[in-house]
């Protein structure tokens, strides 16, 4: 596997993980506020 492809996979996985963490911290709170708003 070329280095650029390994880097691409790692960074996309990190991006997806960051999104998942961000959604779990802030996403639910926003949905809850919206539901009550």
């Amino acid at each position: 596997m070329p280095i650029w492809l390994e880097l691409l996979v790692l960074m996309l996985v990190a991006y997806a993980a960051g999104l998942a963490i961000g959604w779990s911290i802030w996403g639910r709170g926003a949905t809850g506020d919206d539901a009550h708003g």
Partner: protein, 248 residues
């Protein structure tokens, strides 16, 4: 700054940005990283005694990679190949090792065939015992039949190789007679082995009379009367196209 309304568009743009950064980073740093790994691998290979081996940190298309292909180790033994592969794999940052002539294992693609161990096994059998013949005759002595059984068992793993059976005599008596007797005795041993399941087309017989006495012995020493076995050609069994399953 333009703020996308659709969250999916934002996510897509974010992924695209990550991809562009990854590609740029890979293209810029890849060749440098591969060159550093190659020089470290060369040093490690020289240290482990795998001198002809070279590590190529590149894919088949030439892109820099941290997974090396090791080449030049075709003539090395399995132990050295294993040592070299482990040493290169231990370098920090190196990924999976592959040999150019085989798999990730130390062995090459071809199955190693070692027919000479049969010769060694037979020589070990005949070191302390001799196939005896009746006086002046090519008839194998009854007491030697068990030894011939053991020789046949030792030769069985070498089926597919050509085995030479050479008869020798001592220097007593006329040489033409010795030549004929040594050849007849070799043929008698061949017949005995064929009767025990060794294929005849893998056996070659010859008689050398008293021409090649045992090193260190006088030509007239009775210990020169002997039968010698040697593997003179190797024919490893390879699968034919019929053996390989085709597509369904």
């Amino acid at each position: 700054m333009v703020v996308p309304r659709s969250p999916y568009l934002a996510l897509g743009l974010g992924a695209a940005l990550v991809a562009v950064l990854a590609l740029a980073g890979g293209r810029l740093s890849g060749p440098d990283l591969a060159a550093k790994l190659e020089s470290r691998a060369a040093a490690v290979i020289a240290k482990t005694g795998g001198a002809p081996v070279r590590a190529h940190f590149a894919t088949a298309r030439g892109s820099p990679s941290r997974h090396p292909v090791l080449a030049g180790g075709e003539r090395l033994d399995v132990g050295t190949r294993d040592r070299v592969a482990r040493a290169v794999a231990a370098i920090p940052g190196v990924g999976g090792i592959r040999w150019s002539d085989g798999t990730a294992l130390a062995q090459g693609a071809a199955t190693p065939v070692e027919p000479l161990h049969c010769q060694e096994d037979v020589e070990a059998l005949l070191r302390s015992r001799t196939i005896r013949f009746e006086e002046g005759s090519a008839r194998i002595d009854a007491a030697s039949r068990e030894l011939v059984d053991e020789v046949a068992s030792a030769l069985r793993p070498c089926l597919g190789s050509i085995i030479a059976i050479t008869g020798h005599t001592d220097a007593s008596g006329p040489e033409p007679g010795n030549l004929a007797l040594s050849r007849e005795r070799a043929e008698a041993v061949e017949a005995a082995l064929v009767a025990r399941g060794i294929p005849a087309d893998g056996l070659r017989t010859s008689g050398l009379g008293s021409r090649t006495p045992v090193k260190g012995l006088e030509a007239t020493d009775p210990a020169n009367r002997r039968i010698e076995f040697s593997v003179i050609a190797t024919q490893p069994i390879r699968p034919t196209p019929v053996d390989t399953p085709g597509p369904r």
